[in-house]
Symmetry: C2
Amino acid sequence: MKEEKMEKMSRREFLVGTGGFAAGAAVGAVLGGGVFNLLPAAAAEATYPYPYVKLDPEKVRKYGYELYYQGGCMYGAASAIIKALAEEVGAPFSSFPVDMFKYGAGGVAGWGTICGTVNGAAAVINLVAPKPEAFPMISELLGWYSETPLPSKKLDAIAKFQDQAQSVATTPLCHSSVSNWCEASGQKESSPQRLDRCAKLTGDVAAKAVELLNAWKDGKFAPVYKVPAETAKCMGCHVGKDSMLNNSFGKMNCTSCHDDHTK
Amino acid sequence: MKEEKMEKMSRREFLVGTGGFAAGAAVGAVLGGGVFNLLPAAAAEATYPYPYVKLDPEKVRKYGYELYYQGGCMYGAASAIIKALAEEVGAPFSSFPVDMFKYGAGGVAGWGTICGTVNGAAAVINLVAPKPEAFPMISELLGWYSETPLPSKKLDAIAKFQDQAQSVATTPLCHSSVSNWCEASGQKESSPQRLDRCAKLTGDVAAKAVELLNAWKDGKFAPVYKVPAETAKCMGCHVGKDSMLNNSFGKMNCTSCHDDHTK
């Protein structure tokens, strides 16, 4: 009897994104914050990768900004995209435990390593795209993040602070990203201005990730990021078959941490 | 009719970890690699945080080593713990999309930022523990990772290479972690020896995370990591109310990247 019921549920009603389960929504509403349970999820039968549908980058940009203030940068970027996907598709996004991304704040528990915005966006990119397709998009995102003056002005209409200074992170690391902005703006790291800059950045990164994913969905993803000239120069000696680094790593700007000893 | 069925399923059969659904397992078996679907998951009704139960660190250490070779360091560390939890608890771990963690390989898509092992372990710590409890454990993990000679010898019995050199990462960054080991061992970054070192590291980090979580579960988690002396010295001037960095950040070893300009 049980088996028959499970089987019927599985074939008809667990198909991802199909059917309407108004009653199930009441069950879902019991869940605590951070799980966007709009429809009863068929997560058990959800296959990987999760199903991406094209999103509006500007909607995701706003979500990223707002969700930063609920859980930090990694949470903000990842849950902005997941929230938008849950609105479009429902399961399995609607039951994803987005609260787990709060760990990424401040470059992972405040250690200043990779910025939570790109750590979170990268996780979602790989949630919807398998590794061989995800890596080029993630690389493009990290390169764009490292070299683009940010934050944009696109959230000024809703943000706490308007017309903030822009800075170039140089690397995907929180420490250099935040330090460079504090230097450019004259603001302290713990100021509400810096927090608002990171909130805007969260929105900008989530929106950029959506742009990349939308292009990928259309079969039109075309990476433009090139390894910086400084890195290419270092790699001339430091990457090669006699070198310790004998593969194609070498994506960040080496001279952001290392001296150019040829000078 | 549908509503009644959903309600019955929800009350009785969706309770996390209860009941036996042998028929459901057949459904779950259809899923592709990387989703440990041992029981039909009630992930839709899974509340956050996910339910941690104490695990055997040595079992998780082996899983981490093996799973590294399936998907890299972040995948290996995260899915080792999730796999062990799925074996004990079933849902919601059994339907978690662990393949999404492959993005963390090589310090996130090969960019050399935070080591995937700690990025993945931190994610799982925050999956089972809410932020205020997760952060101290993650900080302890990153500090241990930064200062401990690794990898351990505990996987030598099953590993491809025995008695490998140990090194101290100094920071949680893949770049310094791998470079320091290559220097200590004389091995190239792309060598099978370096891969095996990272596989062992994946196991060691996953096992350490489990030790921290087990202690936390018993109410006995006691952090021991202290900010390095170099960092404390830098913070004397660089963190304070007149400084740009006027909060309690400052966890990594500053002199791993920056010169000590007081010398």
